[in-house]
């Protein structure tokens, strides 16, 4: 029988001081890199292993190595995805994208000299420029078609997509300009997070350069701590991948030769099937809950790979998904589920509104800031992200899809606002006894059921009327 202490020693191996010391010896270090190479060998991240190793050899140049190595891999991957691989246009696109980052680097360096209206609202100015570029493209022949016949338009679209992709990262750069910290940095440092091979979504993992450098390992032993913590995340990602195979085998397999033991459905399939013949409610509810677990596990794997690699580069950054099953309130779940997306919304929407409006009305202040982030910012982020999907997969912008997501964000915003108020009321109180296990389980179940139901309005084939009809149907109400 494994005791609690043994279990902790195994699961928290990255906190073992003897292991830190071993991993800086030649044998320990070789073992570490063999483990990393094996864990990453079947993933796209394998190309990063030599870049990571180089960063370990030259820690003082870590940011440059990540910027040039990771940035180069990112551009190759992303432009390949967009199918613009003619050498000439590839070079032009890369030059424009790097040029755009450099332009904003120079603007951020000269932040104090910008016009007052821009200095007061740099993020609004940035997004206005992006929208002017989007509108300008609409006037060109072929505008946003997936495969425009005019090669010039095609490549202009690519650059615009990159601009939309980079906009939050450029926003962090402008914040560094506003605070003056950018003056201590070099242009190449900024490629590290602007062109992130580590995670190719619009959400900047580990935020901007200020945050990233504040988490940088200092010294060989500290680097070993970060690397072992990274290795642990890669192992966790592997474990979650295995659990996904198990879930597929048990419930979700779509392989006609290997049907699942008990057929359940992912949410889009479930809603599509229910439009014609509603499965038994037990199947519906089991599908909804287990699909939520499935999606959370996928997100955890995605985040663990990125954060794991960042730690291997030597940054003590937080996990993206951290034990969401333990969340006892809606706001706690939001913090644990997708940390860096929440941080993006907090940095670009919550705090700007919180600091600017209703200072003398605490509840109204929090309400406005919460709706600005969880509702408006969340919706706006996904709307901008759609330009990427439009170009890569041809998925059209549709009112039906976004109306469903708008409903999702309004409900989320309101729910988080009430959750914040509830948490605030409880903060500072001295608990005589910890809450009972039963009460804790009820809280956790409540959080999961809330998000499971809310996901009805947030899936790949969302349409407001269909989703809402389905919502009533799961409670036995049909019309």
């Amino acid at each position: 029988m494994i005791s609690r202490d043994h279990y902790r020693t195994i699961t928290q191996f990255h906190e073992n001081e003897r292991l830190w010391e071993f991993s800086i010896t030649p044998a320990g270090n070789i073992s570490l890199w063999i483990a990393v190479a094996l864990l990453l060998s079947a993933t796209d991240y394998r190309f990063l292993v030599p870049v990571m190793f180089l960063a370990q050899l030259f820690p003082a140049k870590r940011l440059w190595i990540m910027g040039i190595g990771g940035g180069g891999l990112f551009l190759l991957k992303k432009l390949n995805q967009l199918q613009v691989f003619q050498t000439f246009w590839f070079a032009i696109d890369v030059a424009i994208i790097i040029g755009l980052i450099y332009l904003f680097y120079r603007i951020s360096l000269s932040f104090s000299k910008l016009p007052k209206i821009v200095k007061s609202n740099p993020q609004i100015a940035l997004h206005l420029i992006l929208w002017m570029a989007i509108i300008a493209i609409l006037f060109l022949p072929d505008d946003f078609r997936q495969n425009p016949s005019w090669v010039f338009t095609a490549n202009l679209n690519v650059c615009l997509i990159f601009f939309a992709f980079l906009v939050w990262r450029l926003g962090f750069m402008l914040y560094s300009g506003k605070r003056g910290s950018i003056k201590k940095t070099n242009f190449l440092d900024h490629l590290t997070y602007c062109l992130p091979y580590l995670g190719s979504s619009q959400v900047p993992f580990a935020k901007g350069l200020e945050y990233l450098t504040s988490k940088m390992a200092d010294g060989r032993l500290d680097l070993a701590k970060a690397q072992l913590a990274g290795l642990k995340l890669l192992l966790l990602a592997l474990l979650w991948k295995l659990s996904l195979y198990l879930l597929d085998w048990l419930f979700f397999s779509s392989d006609p030769n290997l049907p699942p033991l008990f057929r359940l459905y992912h949410i889009s399939q479930l809603i599509a099937i229910s439009a014609t013949a509603m499965p038994h409610l037990a199947v519906v509810w089991s599908s909804l809950i287990l699909d939520m677990v499935y999606e959370t596990t996928q997100l955890a794997i995605y985040g663990h790979m990125i954060v794991g690699c960042l730690r291997l580069f030597g940054f003590h950054v937080f996990r993206n998904t951290y034990k969401p099953l333990l969340a006892k309130s809606l706001i706690d779940f939001w913090n644990r589920y997708y940390f860096y997306f929440k941080e993006l919304l907090v940095d670009f929407f919550f705090f700007p509104v919180y600091l600017s409006f209703f200072r003398n009305h605490p509840k109204l202040r929090i309400f406005a800031a919460t709706m600005a982030s969880a509702c408006f910012g969340n919706f706006y982020y996904h709307f901008l992200q759609h330009f990427d999907r439009l170009m890569i997969s041809g998925e059209p912008l549709s009112f039906a899809k976004f109306s469903s997501y708008l409903f999702y964000t309004v409900v989320l915003g309101l729910a988080i606002f009430f959750s914040i108020l509830k948490e605030q009321r409880q903060r500072g109180k001295e608990h005589v006894a910890p809450p009972s296990t039963w009460r804790t389980l009820r809280q956790i179940a409540g959080v999961w059921i809330f998000f499971t139901i809310l996901r009805i309005w947030d899936h790949g084939d969302s349409s407001f009327m269909t989703d809402t009809t389905f919502f009533f149907a799961i409670f036995g109400i049909r019309f």
């Binding site: 506003k178 200020e210 945050y211 706690d332 940095d347 705090f351 600091l355 948490e423 500072g428 910890p434």
Partner: protein
């Protein structure tokens, strides 16, 4: 106001917003307030409101850099630099 007085004022305030299951006496000035589990990330809002009202710090000019509010030590530095 001197640094010691600011520190005591800050500690008294943190005591009112800390998580119910955490202990003030286990926190050192350089420990991360969130990382150590003393407060949750939401309590950051209350720290901001406290710094605005007690020390007249105006975050609307510079924005909020969470790194500056990470530990007792960093908050005291911020108060030193920006308090009116």
């Amino acid at each position: 106001m001197d640094n010691q007085a600011n520190r005591e004022k800050l500690l008294r305030f943190l005591n009112t917003i800390k998580r119910p299951d955490s202990r003030m006496d286990r926190i050192h000035d350089d420990d991360g307030l969130i990382k150590s589990g003393l407060i949750d990330s939401l309590a950051m809002l209350e720290i901001i409101a406290f710094l605005e009202s007690e020390f007249g710090i105006d975050f609307s000019e510079t924005g909020v850099d969470p790194v500056e509010l990470e530990s007792i030590h960093k908050i005291l530095d911020l108060i030193d630099r920006q308090a009116i």
